[in-house]
């Protein structure tokens, strides 16, 4: 694993969960049908909840607070993967992103659960238990879309388009395993491409950050909300 501090690792995960939780919560009120709207909103809330727990752990170490870490850094300081930064996508692309992200995250959590750091391992285990339902939900949609012609066309296009971003969620050494699992599940090969990795901010984060912090920045630092 590339050398990074514990705090950096936590922030990477937290930023991923925060931003994807955001993106998923953008479907609240406009999802394909009402039952799906309610379910997908819970997934988004869980992700933001995970982010909060991760920020809190990092905050202890950094002498900060979860909210300060979530909101008060400048856009360039966020460590999220480009996959999560892409703005709210069309539904087939949303399903593809959701499924790819959960697949990558599962690999990542497996690693962390085995970590020698009890706080990190414990949190990873908790997150993994909740993620079981996310994975079920993503898998269900993938199955359904693949079972009808138009769904299959749209989903395949989305999976191929997002594949380089999916690779970028993980460290280099985990990417082959991600590919192996994704291809096994889909029953086909995915494109041979370079990953779009962390640090290659795709330009959408700055705009997101502007809106996300607009209310918070309207009062002096430390104001209560």
């Amino acid at each position: 694993m590339p050398e990074r501090s514990r705090a950096d690792l936590l922030l990477e995960l937290a930023d991923d969960e925060l931003v994807i939780g955001w993106r998923n919560s953008e479907w609240t009120g406009i999802a394909p049908f009402l039952e799906e709207d309610v379910a997908f909103s819970s997934i988004a809330q869980n992700e933001i909840g995970h982010a909060r727990a991760l920020y809190e752990l990092a905050a202890e170490e950094l002498g900060s607070t979860a909210d300060e870490l979530a909101f008060d850094r400048s856009p360039g300081d966020y460590r999220c993967a480009p996959l999560v930064e892409l703005r709210r996508l069309e539904w087939a692309w949303t399903v593809a992103r959701h499924w790819l992200y959960e697949l990558a995250d599962e690999l990542r959590l497996e690693r962390l659960k085995a970590s020698g750091d009890p706080a990190v391992a414990g949190l990873a285990a908790k997150m993994d238990r909740e993620e079981t339902y996310h994975r079920l939900h993503a898998d269900m949609w993938v199955t359904r879309l693949l079972s009808v012609r138009e769904g299959r066309l749209r989903l395949d296009e989305a999976l191929d388009g997002l594949w380089p971003f999916a690779l970028g969620v993980l460290d280099e050494e985990l990417r082959p395993e991600l590919r192996r699992r994704a291809e096994a599940r889909l029953g086909r090969e995915l494109p041979d491409v370079d990953p779009v990795a962390r640090g290659d901010h795709v330009g959408e984060l700055a705009e997101l950050w502007e809106e996300m912090t607009s209310v918070r920045r309207s009062a002096p630092a430390g104001a209560q909300w």
Binding site: F33, A39, Y133
Partner: protein, 99 residues
Amino acid sequence: MSENATDTVFEVFRQERKGQPFQHAGSVLAPDLRFAEIYAREQYGRRQESSALWLVRRDAIDELSDFPDEFDLKYRRVDGYSIKARLKEARERAGTQPS
């Protein structure tokens, strides 16, 4: 926001706490049981307000609501017994009627 002719209605019964009866809580519309499970879980359980849910396809439910009682068989019900008057008389005879 569809309600397709082939979407199925699943009735949801929820048990609030272990030991309590399952009560009808509402219904969800879903393409199949797998989807219905996720949706029922969220609609009726996201606040940890249920300890268990039963899902049943609406067309699997058989409702009965007509119970004829043409000959008024009162002995089968509590209101078919009126013991007050006789109890009073028995107590009076035994001298145990409370004043």
